[in-house]
């Protein structure tokens, strides 16, 4: 049994999505979508260098935890990357870099997510998420809400 390499190598994940790169790009890069698949709230401009935050809310206590992030690169509909989990205040020190790459694939999109950086911190966030878990297992909760904002998105040119 080896304990090396796993946590210090990057996490790389590929997923095939039956949606155009333009749609997938919106979902991974716009806060109104990001808050549907990840934190309870997300505030950032989808512009390189923009500073933002991700917020988790404990539905029982109302307590919130805010994690700072900053947008690194925005190249629609090809690439979106951001940093989070900064070790030092004011977005200093080590951080995790998350990169979404979108490759057109026969009418759909091949989405590749790469997370590199200080793995220990990444795990602390995994623990945090576990404690603010509702949204992880609660995907079904969001399906009924989809209609309204999908309609809004489609109305947007």
């Amino acid at each position: 049994m080896t304990t090396q390499s796993r946590e210090h190598g990057p996490i790389v994940r590929d997923i095939r999505i039956d949606a155009s790169p333009e749609v997938v790009f919106e979902v991974v890069s716009r806060p109104e979508h990001v808050r549907e698949w990840w934190p309870d709230d997300a505030g950032f401009e989808s512009v390189a260098g923009a500073l933002g935050e991700l917020v988790w809310r404990n539905t029982e206590t109302g307590e919130t935890t805010t994690v700072l992030m900053s947008v690194v690169e925005v190249d629609a509909p090809r690439l979106f990357s951001f940093r989070w989990c900064f070790q030092e205040p004011d977005r200093g020190g080590d951080s995790l870099l998350v990169t979404f790459e979108l490759i057109p694939d026969d009418g759909g999109t091949l989405l590749r997510m790469t997370e590199t950086g200080w793995r220990e911190m990444g795990w602390e966030i995994a623990v945090l998420e576990e404690h603010y878990q509702d949204h992880i297992d609660g995907w079904n909760h969001y399906i009924p809400q989809l209609g309204a904002y999908v309609a809004r998105l489609v109305a947007t040119p």
Binding site: Q4, E7, I15
Partner: protein, 120 residues
């Protein structure tokens, strides 16, 4: 100390490359002392002792006094627990990507339906 704090300590204990190498050496050889480990590592015996103390504190190794030096062994149950937690990070991304997929496909379907309706 809360369960989370314990886990944080466990994680940072195993997050250090030197300590992971020490765990690998202990697993391979069954047990070891600060002296035997320092002979295999580019760090001093004192540094190894400090690392062993960190690993001991979170239960990843246990010491038994034998002869003049303490002999350390890996606690495999605790190690398995730590490794499972490492895997959890990847699992979290798998879950997020599945949600991204479902969300994007829902939006695409809605757009397709709208376009079809507009075309009629």
């Amino acid at each position: 100390m809360s369960a989370t704090a314990v886990d944080d300590d466990l994680w940072s204990a195993i997050g250090d490359p030197t300590r992971r190498t020490m765990i690998d050496l202990l697993l391979r050889e069954g047990n070891g002392t600060a002296t035997s480990l320092s002979e295999r590592l580019p760090v001093t015996r004192q540094a190894v002792s400090k690392h062993l103390a960190v690993l001991d504190r979170v239960g990843l190794v246990h010491a038994s006094p034998a002869g003049r030096e303490r002999h350390f062994q890996v606690d495999e149950a605790q190690l398995a627990r730590a490794v499972a937690q490492l895997a959890a990070v990847g699992d979290a991304w798998d879950a997020r990507l599945r949600r991204i997929k479902r969300l994007a496909e829902q939006i695409q379907q809605t757009q397709n339906t709208q376009n079809t309706n507009e075309g009629e």
